[in-house]
Amino acid sequence: MRFDRRYIFLAIAVAVAVPMLFPIGLPVAVTDETRQVYDRIENLAPGDVVMFSFDHEASSLPEVRPLAEAVLTHCFRRGVKVIGLALFAEGAAVGYDILKDVGEREDKTYGEDYLYLGYRPQYSAAILGMGESIAEVFPADYDQTPYEELPLGQRVKSYADIELVVSVADGSLPTYWVEYAQARYGQRIVAALTAVMVTAYNPYLEAGQLDGILGGLKGAAEYEKLLGQPAAGTRGMDAQSLAHLTIAILIILGNIIAFARWRRGKSGKEGDA
């Protein structure tokens, strides 16, 4: 007998929808990795500059937007200046949208407290180039205002003036930040990643090539807890936990059924002999 896998899709949909309609409020435990990123931002001085690189596609927004918003909010509350850019074309408008939203919500002034440079292709060349001169790589911001006419642009010439880079990514871009900005210019880097990428970047964290990793919606929920401001990450945690529980139960059931079939097949063969 074949089990129709559409029942599994339905079970997952129910497991996600029900806790959204009727929130349970399951607790969120903060991991050391998230606290490490939080402390890194907390220890920045007002006036320090953090570069946010939106290195992702639009399809991963449900995961990366809560991450970016949480860290950006923290930066603005600490009085840290932010320079945004995108190394994926798809991330260009998304990054602008996120930065503008959080900047306006935190009552920050464009050009003085934050600015957005837009998109550059050839990420390795762009990352390397900014080590020498940001104005050479981005002569103008996203709205085509010359970089050096913006107050923040006049202050920040290269990585030497940037305390930290946060790569908000759903792919391999943080690796290039490590290779070209960290290894070559000693630039400190934090990766805010989709959960699927976390295991790939743990070796860089262990080796000290990354200052921290924030992973997925769970990472955003933990960061929101540390900030004391529940938002999209926290809202999704009940659904995430229940969906994981459903999947774990399905995996156990699937293995029990597979084991029972294997036993039945084995005893059938012994009977034939």
């Binding site: 899709f9 929808a17 449900p62 074309a89 390795s124 390397l128 290894a183 790939a200 999704g236 995430q240």
Partner: protein, 199 residues
């Protein structure tokens, strides 16, 4: 987002998810729409933020150095004419040569030397020992110059266990990631579209 925008987003989301039931024309239409929009969007962004301010405006302003990337780019497009394909090898050679020159030393330092340093640099701790054993055992699993017999066999077996743990952890994170995407869509459908969520 405007009301009509919310409706378009909701209907295309449902069209994509309808594939879970079975393949159908609504799914196909939404899929083609996504591909077309992605290509169109990337093209517009590239022209607006790269080609126009970085190539066209400087050329018009008299920056003759920009003729070099213009010619190289043109030679790349010439690929589309079968008889002239050979000319596209020039920009390809520039890209490969420059790319290799830039990336090889950087990769060697960041992915091999720094990683090796970190692997042997923490052997004073239990975590460091576990990591070192894992690296050696996994590398031994991929050592194909000798048959995996004798001492190589148990070491490679340990490497297999390490990899299984890695695959398990990666699968767990993948599930988490995909569920997060579903949560994002569900939050939109139940909240922004149907207004069923409080707050």
């Amino acid at each position: 987002m405007s009301e009509i925008g919310v409706w378009i987003t909701a209907l295309t989301t449902l069209a994509i998810y309808s594939f879970l039931y079975r393949d159908n024309p609504f799914y196909k239409a939404a899929e083609y729409l996504l591909i077309g929009l992605t290509v169109g969007y990337s093209l517009v962004i590239s022209v607006k933020t790269v080609l126009w301010p970085g190539l066209v405006l400087p050329l018009v302003g008299g920056d003759l150095a920009k003729i070099i990337p213009l010619v190289l780019g043109g030679l790349m497009i010439i690929r589309l004419v079968p008889k002239l394909t050979v000319w596209s090898r020039i920009p390809l050679a520039v890209i490969v040569g420059a790319g290799a020159g830039v990336s090889i030393p950087a990769m060697l330092k960041a992915r091999i030397l720094q990683q090796m340093g970190a692997t042997v640099g923490h052997v004073a701790s239990l975590n460091g020992i576990i990591m070192l054993v894992g690296v050696i055992a996994t590398v031994m699993y991929f050592y194909f110059s000798r048959e995996q017999k004798g001492i190589l066999q148990p070491v490679a077996k340990i490497g297999t266990w390490y990899m299984m743990i890695f695959f398990g952890a990666t699968f767990g994170y993948t599930v988490m990631s995909r569920v997060s995407l579903l949560i994002g869509r569900m939050e939109f459908l139940l909240g922004d579209w149907l207004h069923l969520l409080g707050g």
